[in-house]
């Protein structure tokens, strides 16, 4: 009986992995298949020459370049806002907070992590209305407010990842630097964080993915179907997830739907580029600390 159980566990694990890998391959394969016909430069730039579009010499009206640029900027700003705050909060919880404070804040962040994105979007929307009332004509739905709302959405991931990573440092390593005369801050910055860089970067990669795919939050705070590339943080913008949602619910013919699949493909490629960026940052930092 025991032998049977021992043998069945790896089999079940393999079965689970195969189902998951198969599902992923099927989804990716389907998107590639449906988008293949539209995957050329005109999907991105329309009739405009790529160089002119990239250097903002000519606006792109019938291509997805503004949506790609909008998504990239949105994710970048949201992550840049969330990473320092999330890491600082994670460090506080792991290294400085007392037992009661830690329990209280952990519960709070868990609730925040469980909030549906549409609720975060509504909070962002309320903030937008408030700011619009306080600064009439100056602030409305815009890139910055969308990035701020997204920042709130991804903060719990970053906080939890940093906290868990730091708490998992073994006591022997944790005590090494203090025994050599390091202060608490020196220990955190020079030993604990570098030793858990891979784990923390893993959290950042997850946050990038979460920020890139969310639609509900940006729909309520700044994204529109046609805005061009934003010239400032206070302008409205286009984004790929919103375009996919918009086109899949409003399409009038098969070509339009195919463009939606093309946008999905572009979103996957964009996420891949951002993941690779995070991966190379982690590799470079790891090499720097180990040398």
């Amino acid at each position: 009986m025991r032998t049977l159980l021992e043998k069945s566990v790896p089999l079940l694990a393999w079965a689970g992995f195969t189902v998951l890998a198969g599902a992923l391959a099927a989804i990716l394969g389907y998107i590639v298949m449906r988008s293949w016909a539209v995957l050329h430069l005109s999907l991105l730039f329309g009739d405009v020459a790529p160089i002119d579009a990239i250097f903002l010499r000519h606006p792109v009206f019938d291509g997805l370049f503004p949506a790609v640029a909008g998504t990239f900027l949105l994710v970048l700003i949201a992550v840049l806002l969330a990473v320092p705050v999330g890491m600082a909060a994670g460090i506080y919880l792991a290294e400085y907070a007392g037992y009661r404070m830690k329990s209280c804040l952990s519960l709070l962040f868990d609730i925040l992590a469980g909030l549906p994105s549409v609720v975060v979007g509504l909070a962002g929307f309320s903030l937008t209305i408030l700011l619009h009332k306080v600064f009439p004509g100056k602030i409305g739905p815009c890139l910055l407010l969308s990035a701020l709302a997204l920042c709130f959405l991804i903060l719990p991931y970053l906080i939890r990842t940093t906290q868990t990573a730091l708490e998992s440092v073994p006591l022997s390593l944790r005590q090494t630097a203090p025994a050599l005369g390091a202060t608490k801050l020196q220990n955190i910055c020079k030993v604990l964080l570098p030793s858990k860089l891979t784990d923390i970067l893993g959290g950042i990669i997850l946050a990038v993915g979460r920020a890139a795919e969310d639609t509900a939050v940006i729909m309520l705070t700044g994204v529109v179907a046609s805005a061009g590339i934003p010239r400032s943080l206070f302008e409205q913008f286009e984004a790929l997830p919103f375009y996919i949602y918009y086109i899949s619910s409003q399409y009038t013919n098969a070509e339009e739907l195919q463009t939606g699949f093309g946008a999905a493909m572009l979103l996957l490629v964009l996420c891949g580029i951002l993941f690779l960026l995070a991966f190379f940052t982690q590799q470079t930092l790891s090499r720097h600390f180990r040398r």
């Binding site: 022997s172 630097a177 203090p178 005369g181 202060t183 020196q186 020079k190 180990r290 040398r291």
Partner: protein, 234 residues
Amino acid sequence: MNRQDKIIIDKLSFRYRNRPILEDISLCWREKQIIAVTGPSGTGKSTFLSLFNRLWEETGDGRLTGSIQLNLGGGLVDIYQRQMPLATLRRSVGMVFQAPNPLPMSIYKNITFPLMLAGRKNGEEMTELVERVLTQVHLFAEVKDRLKSDARNLSGGQQQRLCLARALVLEPKILLLDEPTSSLDQEACRKLEELIVELKDQCTILLVSHYQDQVQRTADLVYELADKRLRRVG
């Protein structure tokens, strides 16, 4: 009090999480000696050692009464007085742990790390210092061609000698060794024991070990920690 007194413990008691570990210990040790503390597992030998560099404070929840005075070069000082800077104390009282604990960085950086913490700038002088301490622990010949490689790739014995070199680079007045050979094979263990005896001329050594033969080979004074008290046995 004698001019050569290095460590004076006066009515020292220590409780950890309300559990008494040490009670009313008073002792006086001279400099350049190897003082070994033995005893059964779980009696608080490692905790006793951590009182000398106040490392127990990192994990908190302890309560100490009495005093420990150390001569760190400028006469005896009570290390638990408020004015005592923790970093200064820990740079003067080196420690090597039970299991090798190289930092996740290169061999070279592991040695220079405490110097950087002390505010020393990287330069030729530091490179010479690295070579000197690695030679002292008989490790330089083995690692001279890969000083920039990850210290965690060294063998267990090499890692422990690296940790000893790292503790020695600050020229500590007192060296705390917490069962430093417990995770090493016989050959590495023998090398480290020889090193400990060599180091006696340089600093006072407090050695926690549960190997009786090792204690007999290396120590000048032997104490047993049992029933919360230290009793001299050799």
